[in-house]
Amino acid sequence: MQSVLAPHGPEAAAVARLGWAMFAGGALICLALVVLVFLAIRGGAGSRRVIASERFLIWSGIFVPVVVLAGLLSWGLVLTGARIAPPSPGALQIEVIGEQWWWRVRYGTEAAQKFETANELRIPVGRDVELTLVSRDVIHSFWVPSLAGKVDMIPGMTNRLRLHATEAGIFRGQCAEYCGGPHALMSFHVVALEVDAFEAWLAAQRRPAEAPATDQSVFFSTGCHGCHTVRGTNAVGTIGPDLTHVAGRLSLGAATLPTGAVNFGRWVRENQHLKPGNRMPSFGFLSAGEVDRLATYLDGLK
């Protein structure tokens, strides 16, 4: 799910191949060295004479490494060039903003098509996705190993990463640059959907939240709207994640725990215990009834 050796995209696949080749080569070199040292210590006079010669030293210590490394370097440069090639014209553009300790995700370039979500990216299978990666506060790093290598999110810089999934699936990613506090709990999911399913999801995300069937008053009376947005309501806060379709996401708290009514309640009541130091306070003072109603409302935001 979050493994370099289980690639689901072309970049990750190329690196996995490279990795296996280097591992095999490295293992061979290790074996050769073990044999060499053994011969040097316990071998016959003939082999020891060869090993002790300056000629052998220069061949094995200089020429052979130079050749091997030159070949390896070329392979690496070709792969590097592929990654930093300019974006393809039909690519899907997504902006990801790293914040302590979650991921703000923005889709769409034209006003009507824009929407914001958090901690989860959904992408179409078989199409290039160009991510624009920035940071609001400290340095973070966006890494979803099954698809591609990582790119840092550095305040003041705009970095780019191309993702491309070759099959549908759920891929887990994690922040890979220490950002203080609960850095260990800053993860996300990339969900690759078949093209039709993706279009449907995109359309659903663009719509504002449906009129709630349940009581949303606790959301407002507690002040949640100060930090969170639910499109289609008066909640327009931007400090925290957009909650318009939060219940449709796989997880809460940047992949800290799965969504669901019970977990919504837990998160509201004791998120400081689940993810210490995160920027949302715990609302432990709410009554059980209030938390229930809030959780039910949130769970309806699909």
């Binding site: 370097l73 506090g181 260990a184």
Partner: protein
């Protein structure tokens, strides 16, 4: 053999009482006065002991971390504590253990290995040691006060800027690193001057033991690499304390500036740690095989090449930051090139083993373990030098595996080999072969069990610096195995500690001696005074080449078999041919360097907790003790001393032959490296944030007349120094002496005024350092210049005081020469600084 050779320098029998006088001169104080000891063997053993203490302390932190990570979702330590633990583990290991321990081994071994009696500046080593011990212990104790830094050992801003790390924790890191910066530079000075100027006669550079070559490269690397991190820490502290925005993007700063400065130091740092260890291996393998090192010249080339190339790799720590393709390609290639010299060394060692018969002693076992583990680390290093692979494994446990394989394998194993190998030279009892073998076996198994699974954890997606992880991602088993391995390592280390406790009985004069039949000079039967007489060296392995050498040295047949002045003496020789040049009067035990260190440590500590007035008081006290210490230097010329073979040498040298001048040159190189790092920072930030640079000549740029005036005053300072030099040479009467003092005072005034004028120039045009990164950098030029000028002012006034107390004249002028060296450099730095700050922005308009 001896009939063809010229007779030995000194005849037998030696005069009665000569040996007793020698012993008296070198005697180490007892009881609590041991704190004043400065002999390199004593400082060396204190230093190694302190470094090992930090190794254990940082290792315990690692054990706690491993306990926390043994199972997913563990709750042994919380997030805040864990973040402090990994920061401290890395910082203490790298700064308080790794560099100090190899430096300490150099302090302990080098003089006797080179045939000298001590290092050229013993009180400087003592000063560096005590500052390091006190500072390091206080730094470590910050953990118990919840004040330990928690930004990672590399402390990246903006996380470590005051906004995101508001507490004093990060300031403690800046403190902790300050001590190692000072000890490292002091050590570098000692080692360069010691290796280049105090080798035994006849020990030309190509007869010098490989360990000395390794330490020479080590010291050179420190001179050029440490200033980058010194500047970086200075900038971060200015940003945290006064909001000078070097790394804050909103104000034109760039977080990557820190990364460039830090890694420009950080990459050479790991070779600073590795090369001395390689040097130790190059000493141990020949002894254990009974044959000289194969490929000595190639190894020297490899050491120098590694040192040189290691400065061209630093960006491989930044492959994921979004730098352009050309950079990626260059640094990837360079990172691979650097493996070639290391490969050369590995094959040289194997060739040496093949040339002789390797005895499988404890040192040999640790060397074999080193080869296995270091090579694996080197191979994974090649893997991560490949950019696309690094893009996946950077900042994951794969890197943790790599770095521990190269550091534990590449330095700690040689360290244990060195402990077991050289202990008999400094201990009344040798260490135990049995305990040593068990310690090795446990450490070897433990290292592989702890770190090999980390490769898989990293490839399975586990990032670094995480206090916990979820179950079910495939990380559970590798972590559990690593935890078990870590405790096995601990057991192995513990066994060695038990061995040391039971068997290591430090003695500089009564040690077991050469149990290995080694060939190099540190194995002579030394006393507290080092060798009884300073030998003539004719070969790389003098003890093998001339089996009678040890006896002849001990009988006092070679140079300086006693003490001519009643004090401590060693020989200074010429840098390349090692011909006797003069006799160095070596300082003895001193309270002054001890208290200077204690008060300096107190100064930094009190500043960190923001107790400014007490800090200043301690700073003044420290300075006072430094002056008192310096006052005892520069004794002036005395009668020539007979060292043997009819040679009479002076005991005092002035000019570019003086060991003191050499030390000043090294210091100037350090200052110049710092300045170059600052110049880099200026031009780098300009390229990143041109919008905060002056957009027009009238835009916050002082009129050029300010710079011109300042430049003229600076040059006047140099001219004043030239006049002072001339006045001193002419010497003689009262008028001449007053001319000297007046011109010195003028030089002091000129440099001080120039610095102040530059500050005024920027201030009067409305520029304030917190405005933007441009402003901050401009004022930093003044800060860096100001530090140098402050040092020069102190040295200038001190020199005037020496003159007024009759301790400075045409023949006794080393103090003046050192002052003038710093003065001219300060003028040059000031002029270049003026050009950068005033002229270069105008060139772009």
């Amino acid at each position: 053999m001896t009939e063809k050779r010229s007779p030995l320098p000194n005849r037998l029998p030696r005069p009665k009482g000569e040996l007793a006088l020698l012993e008296k001169a070198w005697k180490v104080p007892e009881g609590w006065r041991l704190l004043t000891a400065v002999n390199n063997t004593y400082i060396g053993v204190f230093y190694i002991g302190a470094a090992l203490l930090f190794f254990i302390l940082a290792g315990v932190l690692a054990l706690v971390m491993r306990l926390q990570l043994a199972v997913p979702g563990n709750e042994i330590v919380g997030q805040g504590t864990y973040n402090q633990l990994f920061t401290m583990h890395g910082t203490v290991m790298m700064f308080l253990f790794a560099v100090p321990v190899v430096e300490a081994i150099g302090v302990m071994l080098l003089p006797q290995m080179l045939g000298a009696r001590d290092l050229p500046f013993p009180r400087l080593s003592a000063f560096a040691f005590w500052a390091y011990l006190v500072g390091g212990l206080f730094f470590f104790s910050s953990l118990f006060m919840g004040l330990a830094p928690d930004g990672g050992w590399f402390m990246y801003p903006p996380l470590t800027s005051s906004r995101y790390s508001p507490g004093d924790n990060s300031d403690f890191w800046l403190l902790g690193i300050g001590f190692i910066e000072i000890s490292a530079i002091a050590g570098a000075i000692e080692i360069i001057v010691g290796i280049m100027r105090t080798r035994a006669p006849g020990m030309t550079l190509d007869k010098m033991p490989i360990f000395a070559w390794a330490m020479l490269v080590f010291a050179g690397m420190i001179v050029f690499a440490f200033p980058a991190v010194i500047l970086a820490t200075m900038l971060l502290e200015l940003e945290r304390s006064f909001q000078w925005p070097f790394f804050i993007a909103d104000k034109g700063g760039d977080p990557l500036l820190w990364q460039h400065l830090f890694w420009f130091f950080g990459h050479p740092e790991v070779y600073i740690i590795f090369l001395p260890a390689a040097g130790m291996v190059s000493m141990i393998v020949p002894t254990m095989t009974g044959v000289p090192l194969v490929g000595y010249r190639l190894i020297v080339v490899a050491l120098v090449a590694t040192g040189f190339f290691s400065f061209g790799l630093w960006v491989h720590h930044m492959f994921t930051t979004g730098i352009p393709g050309l950079s990626l390609a260059f640094f990837s290639a360079a990172s691979m090139v650097v493996t070639i010299p290391s490969a050369m060394q590995v094959f040289s060692w194997i060739a040496t083993m093949a040339s002789g018969r390797l005895r499988l002693t404890v040192p040999s076992l640790f060397v074999l373990g080193f080869l296995a583990v270091f090579v694996i680390g080197g191979l994974t290093g090649v893997m991560v030098a490949m950019v696309p692979f690094d893009w996946q494994v950077h900042d994951t446990y794969f890197i943790v595996a790599h770095l521990h394989y190269v550091l534990y394998g590449g330095m700690v194993f040689p360290l244990f080999a060195a402990l077991y190998y050289w202990a008999p030279a400094f201990s009344k009892r040798r260490l135990s072969e049995t305990l040593g073998r068990w310690s090795f076996a446990l450490q070897f198994i433990g290292v592989n069990l702890a770190y090999f699974p980390m490769h898989f954890a990293g490839l399975a997606g586990m990032p670094r610096r995480v206090y916990t992880y979820p179950a079910g991602l495939g990380w559970d088993l590798p972590n559990l195995l690593s935890t078990v391995g870590a405790f096995i390592i601990a057991l192995g280390v513990l066994l060695c500690l038990v061995d040391l406790a039971r068997n290591f009985r430090f003695s500089a004069s009564d040690a077991v001696g050469d149990v290995w039949k080694a060939g190099t000079l540190e194995w002579l039967p030394n006393g507290i005074y080092g060798p009884r007489s300073i030998p003539i060296v004719e070969d790389r392995e003098p003890l093998w080449y001339r089996p009678t050498l040890a006896d002849e040295v001990e009988e006092g047949r070679y140079f300086l078999p006693g003490t001519k002045t009643g004090g401590r003496e060693t020989l200074v020789t010429t840098p390349f041919d090692a011909a006797p040049d003069y006799v160095l009067l070596v300082p003895g035990p001193s309270w002054r360097s001890f208290w200077a260190a204690i008060f300096m440590a107190a100064f930094f500590l009190l500043l960190t907790v923001k107790l400014v007035v007490p800090a200043m008081a301690c700073g003044v006290l420290s300075l006072g003790f430094v002056v008192a210490w310096l006052w005892q230097t520069d004794p002036g010329p005395g009668p020539k001393l007979a060292i043997g073979a009819g040679i009479r040498l002076p005991s005092y040298r002035t000019g570019s032959s003086s060991h003191s001048w050499w030390a000043m040159i090294v210091l100037v190189l350090v200052a110049a490296s710092l300045f170059v790092a600052l110049a880099f920072s200026y031009f780098y930030i300009w390229s990143v944030s041109p919008q905060v640079w002056p957009q027009a000549a009238s835009d916050r740029l002082p009129d050029l007349s300010w710079a011109a005036t300042t430049a003229v005053i600076l040059v006047a300072g140099s001219i004043a120094l030239l006049f002072a030099d001339w006045a001193l040479k002419r010497g003689g009467t009262g008028a001449g002496r007053w001319a000297l003092r007046a011109t010195l005072l003028l030089a002091v005034a000129a440099l001080g005024t120039a610095c102040f004028l530059e500050f005024c120039a920027q201030w009067q045009v409305g520029l304030r350092p917190a405005d933007s990164s441009y402003a901050a950098l401009v004022y930093t030029f003044t800060v860096v210049q100001g530090q140098l000028v402050a040092a020069f002012i102190l040295m200038g006034l001190y020199t005037i005081a020496r003159s007024m107390t009759g301790k400075l004249n045409a023949a006794r002028r080393v103090t003046f020469d050192n002052t003038k060296c710093l003065g001219h450099y300060a003028v040059a730095q000031g002029l270049v600084g003026l050009f950068i700050v005033h002229v270069s922005p105008r060139l772009a308009l």
